[in-house]
């Protein structure tokens, strides 16, 4: 057990799994000599060599498509998109080739696609997106989004070992801001939710960076005890944990950093409206980014992303309902 950042935990998970399983290889732009745009794979090429830490051409469709090919002949490729936003350029290979392969042919595609997601640092419209909902809406892909260092490592190892294509959303804004105790060695975190904080008066359901914003917003909310549910996995979605949370708290705020329409948060809210209706004691309130590209300039960006204040306000209103 040692304390490390979210980013270090991701590196650690990758390193452990590469040491343990020689089928694992990394592919991406500048992941080798440079160690990755965010230095997640710093030092990897020295330890594992250029064959297993592959600097690819600038070609996202090729990164995903060749990973599929390598996977079906027995490797376990882990692809890095330099920023999550660029997955739009490999979209077809991911949703149509990787996602549908097993259903169609019974052929497993064990690839992991790492997406550095999210905003909050003036990345602008093309370096701040949270595209997870696109992949939730594409059958055959699993989607995970850790919020802590411990889960980042454990979910990554589980993703690599999973026999299916897994989209791994690592939030850039957490890379160096979040630290935590991380067990040594290889371990898997199961693809399900966890309770980030117990509470009974109200629940906030979130994932990724928003878990921290939610915790901060509800740490001291006029004496109310607020349960925070960290989804961790979006596909599969832990419906039981969500419904259990509704049963327990009866009032729910769903927080999502992605653009609101058809987001993960919409799915959670729809689930609750259908299967948790009887336990509800108020509307299912959503806090999310409006349907606007993420602006570059700090005052604009801050006005768009869900903030501690907006979550607080939503919680207060719902508590008063």
């Amino acid at each position: 057990m040692s304390t490390m950042t979210y980013l270090q935990a991701i590196s650690d998970g990758l390193r452990e799994e590469m040491r343990a399983d020689e089928r694992v290889l990394l592919m991406g732009e500048d992941v080798g000599v440079f160690g990755g745009a965010f230095k997640v794979t710093d030092g990897f090429i020295e330890e594992f060599g250029a064959d297993r830490v592959m600097d690819t051409p600038l070609a996202e469709s090729a990164i995903v498509g060749t990973a599929v090919g390598a996977a079906v002949v027995g490797l376990r490729p882990v692809c890095e998109m330099q920023f999550a936003d660029f997955v739009a350029c490999g979209f077809d290979q991911l949703v149509n080739v990787a996602g549908k392969m097993h259903y169609r042919q019974g052929l497993a595609v064990p690839i992991t696609v790492r997406l550095p997601t999210g905003g909050g640092f003036s990345g602008g419209p093309f370096h701040s997106q949270n595209p997870e909902a696109w992949f939730m809406h594409a059958p055959g892909l699993k989607v995970v989004a850790p919020s802590t260092a411990e889960d980042a490592k454990g979910l990554l190892i589980a993703a690599i070992r999973d026999p299916n294509p897994v989209v791994f959303c690592e939030h850039k804004h957490l890379y160096r801001r979040v630290k935590g105790d991380v067990p040594a060695g290889a371990y898997e975190t199961p693809f399900g939710a966890r309770v980030a904080r117990e509470g009974d008066d109200l629940a906030v359901i979130a994932y990724g960076a928003m878990v921290h914003t939610a915790l901060e917003a509800t740490a001291n909310l006029d004496g109310a005890t607020v349960r925070v549910l960290d989804l961790r996995s979006l596909v599969p979605l832990d419906e039981e944990a969500i419904l259990e949370t509704v049963r327990r708290c009866s009032k729910v705020v769903v927080v999502d950093e992605a653009n609101a329409t058809c987001a993960a948060g919409a799915q959670v809210a729809a689930l609750i409206a259908e299967k948790g209706f009887e336990d509800l004691d108020g509307p299912v309130v959503r806090v999310s980014t409006p349907d606007v590209p993420i602006a570059f300039s700090p005052p604009l960006e801050q006005a768009l992303l869900p903030s501690v204040d907006r979550i607080k306000e939503a919680c207060r209103e719902l508590l008063a309902y």
């Binding site: 090729a62 060749t66 996977a71 002949v73 080739v97 097993h102 169609r104 042919q105 299916n164």
Partner: protein, 356 residues
């Protein structure tokens, strides 16, 4: 296209396009082409009878491209097979009844009714079934080749794709990646003059085989209606790949003799063009060669017809999938890599030189 006179054709027929083929190999090539044509003709009838759902695509007139190329592949090689390449499935050993069951969406089809008609690949026979998005499979084949190279294995990947497909970005990304990393992959461009209704002049300004030069590897134009020439070109490309020489682009010049799919009457294709190509039928050509070997081709045809009919009957006896299973299998429980397929070429037999 050159016009073949009768004498030229007879000369061609006699000469083997490859010295690496035994008489049995040459017969096997013919037999597989006949089988492909027989299966597809029969399937078209089934389609018209409403027994094949969706649409139906065939490779009439292009049989040499998939049969010749797949014949040059070893058991441990891997294939991404496209929509006009039934021959490749047959070479790898997919039984005819499973092909018909596939077309008819039955439980006994290769995809168990999950995917449509020509979108299939038997994972136990070294094949990945295509997705519709063309030519996405070029990247999958490139990735398989990448894995072979990384692991230091003497194996190779092959894939087919059409003239129209060369216009898409994935063509470029695959060609470039394979070229930069010198991967053991064979790209077979099936230039059948049309992409649906669109003639090749609207897809590219330059003969596509010449494009390989832009990626640093050879582009080889081949008579795609000569199954032995196809075999030979792919055999050489495979050897090159196994020796570390990198990829080859083979441009198989051929003609789509039927409409794009069952519904298409091909009004947009000039009659004379079809007539010209009809005279270059790949099966006729191989028939002439095999006759020279003293083989009773009519007997062979009869055997093939029997196999086709038996296959249809067996398939028709298979059940449709159980709707209660429709939601199953989206996710895998375990990851099992592709298995091997047949390698019918005698050069892969027990006493071959160890060239792989």
């Amino acid at each position: 296209m050159e016009t073949d006179t009768a004498t030229e054709r007879s000369k061609l027929a006699q000469a083997a396009a490859s010295e690496h083929l035994t008489p049995d190999d040459r017969i096997a090539l013919l037999r597989t082409m006949l089988l492909m044509r027989g299966v597809e003709a029969r399937a078209m009838v089934l389609y018209r009878q409403g027994k094949v759902p969706g649409s139906f695509y065939d490779g009439f007139g292009q049989e040499a491209v998939s049969v010749g190329a797949a014949f040059a592949m070893a058991a441990e090689d891997r294939l991404c097979v496209l929509h006009r390449d039934l021959g490749a499935h047959l070479v790898r050993g997919v039984p005819v009844e499973r092909v018909f069951a596939q077309y008819m969406g039955r439980e006994g089809g290769v995809t168990r009714g999950r995917d449509g008609n020509v979108h299939f690949g038997d994972k136990d026979l070294g094949c990945v079934g295509m997705v519709s998005m063309l030519p996405d499979m070029m990247l999958v084949a490139t990735g398989m080749a990448m894995a072979f190279k990384l692991r230091g294995e003497r194996r190779c990947a092959i894939t087919w794709f059409g003239d129209g497909s060369t216009s898409r970005g994935d063509f470029h990304e695959a060609m470039n990646w394979a070229g930069v990393q010198r991967l053991p992959v064979v790209f077979v461009l099936e230039n059948n003059q049309f992409a649906y209704s669109t003639p090749i002049e609207q897809q590219f300004a330059v003969e596509p085989s010449k494009r390989a030069a832009a990626y640093g590897f050879p582009g080889v134009p081949v008579d795609g209606n000569d199954v032995e020439a196809m075999f030979e070109a792919v055999r050489v490309a495979r050897e090159r790949a196994l020796a570390g020489g990198g990829p080859t682009l083979i441009e198989a010049k051929t003609m789509r003799m039927h409409g794009h799919a069952a519904h298409d009457d091909m009004r947009y294709v000039p009659k004379e063009l079809l007539e010209q190509w009809r005279r270059r039928d790949p099966i006729d050509r191989q028939v002439a060669r095999v006759r020279e070997l003293g083989v009773d081709v009519e007997a062979l045809r009869a055997l093939v017809d029997e196999e086709v009919e038996a296959g249809v009957e067996a398939a028709l006896a298979m059940p449709m999938p159980d709707p209660a299973t429709a939601r199953e299998g989206v996710f895998a429980e375990v990851a099992e890599p592709l298995g091997d397929g047949l390698a019918p070429w005698s050069g892969f037999g027990p006493d071959r030189e160890d060239d792989r």
